[in-house]
Amino acid sequence: MPYPLPSADVETKLAALDAGYTICTRTPCAEDSREGKRPSFIKIGLGTNPNRVGVLVAGGMHAREWASPDALLSFAEELLKAQKAKRDMSFLAFTHTRPNGTTYSYGSYTISKTDVAKWVDRLDLYFLPCVNPDGRDFSLLPGNKMWRKNRWPHPADASCSGVDLNRNFPIAWDQDVFYNVAGAANVATCTTACHPGGQAVRDTFRGPGSASEPETRNVVAVMGLPGIKYYLDVHAYGPNIYFPWGIEQNQWTAPEKWFNNPDWDRPGAHGGRDGTAGVAYGEWIPDSGANRLLKSHQDLGNAMRAEIIKAAGASAAAVGISTYAVEQSLSLYATTGASDDYFMSTQFPPSTGSKKHAFTIEIGSAADGEYFPGPAQFRKYERDIHGALCGAFRAIAAGVAAGPSPGSTWCFIATAAYGSPEHERVRLLQRLRLEVLRSTPFGRRFAGVLEAVYYSFSPRLAAWLWRHRRSRALVRVAVVTPAVFLLERATTLLGRVPSRRLRVVLLAAVITLLVAVPIGLAGAAVAAAVWALWPGR
């Protein structure tokens, strides 16, 4: 396998995955990069579970961090192969050779087909493996490997070109407004394209404006797709797993101290946030009652950490160099305009129903290959990335309710038609079946026959409906809504019948009529058509 792939090869690979697997869909991003390249992303998922949540995994935001695009592609490909063949995901053993020559043995690593089936049922997995195609291709040219930014062209001086995309997102972008003077002095973001400190300082140039870069806006647009609740941004190097906030110290007791409160901006009543320079201000992250956003970030980060260790195998030495710290992004420095903080910010002010989680995974270490592992080091970076993803997907999927299965209490077709098992009409149908129909021995026998027939075809039909929006709307309007309306009226009328047994018998009769009449009408229509078209008539 060639490594590292130039951006065009990443796109070719994504197109091949789209063409080869029905549960994989490739979509080009909305905008071309600065140099006219259009990155794309894939979505992997069966799309049938009404409770499913979206997880966006991004890579290649920083040009010189070579491993993530290739590792995300190899993960997606193995996941798709395993799902299609209904087999385990399997990653081969390898030897990791550090640049100084020390070697480490990593064993094979397997993810069960049960996990694979759960993930594609309960999650919509989005992979955007090459956020910064121009930067990547530039970094792969001889002599350019340290290049970090995109290829924004400075209007006057080419040596000042490039924007650090991970300082360009619309969250606390203007540090001279967000922080007080002392706080702004400790921000690891460069505000001047042509900073006299040279490239080492210009590496974190935030850009000429908030979300000024098309590559940034592409990520923002994908983050905004319906259902995406988790964002994993893969970088190098650490080894660290970071969660928000990067803009300030976390605190969970003062909801008024949050990024959008102008009282805490520099022109406001308090004169600006203090960043790492003081403790008067901390960024609010809910961590009480039903919304323990801090704890759930720590838990998910620890799940990734544990799975990376598991993926390292039995060698204590390999485990030693694949042990990650799980920490808040902000440490000595504050960072502004970062993608994880931006994704986190999109749920504020938070509600219990809209929890979003964001992580920056800093893969690898200085001793293992820094930002740009060579071919002899790539497999270790790849394995750590795969471990992190598996840990995250398993933990997230465990928190998602299973979809309908035969024998459950689900109304498959109505759920598909209305888009949620929580819809009031779906709940009405469930209530009729479970609480009214099943309240007598006759009703239970009738329901048993009804469900045996219904479950023989409805899961497949419902799965098909989930994939066809127009058909879903047609079934909702022409079939399910009239049926629910009639059942609702019938139930109201039957409520006047004093005998529960008789009530259930009459309800069973109504249901039989509702099923039999359309089938009878369809049969009559077919018979009439055959009669009309019969040769010789």
Binding site: P142, A188, A236, Y242, L332, E362, S365, A366, P375, R379
Partner: protein, 85 residues
């Protein structure tokens, strides 16, 4: 360019940002306890002297020659063989 590990107090390490030719790897920062921290970086010799002058301890993990040789080897492999793994 050298690959270096820098150790010092939080306050000292905080003052490193902005030194010319010091490419700090922010993701590598680790707190060591007792208000000590370490961070990795690539740095030119002049930048190392500035870091040491501030009071930080610097370990050179790969000097200019070794790092250049490693960079050249990786680059050669990438360019010649498309980095087969």
């Amino acid at each position: 360019m050298n690959l270096i590990r820098i150790e010092g107090s939080s306050e000292l390490l905080r003052s490193l940002h902005g030194i010319p030719d010091l490419y700090l790897a922010l993701g590598s920062l680790r707190m060591l306890g007792d208000d000590r921290a370490e961070i990795w970086a690539r740095a030119e010799t002049g930048a190392i002297q500035q870091v040491e002058a501030l009071g930080c301890a610097v370990d050179v993990e790969m000097d200019d020659t070794a790092l250049q040789a490693h960079d050249d080897a990786v680059e050669h492999e990438i360019q010649q063989n498309r980095g087969t793994v």
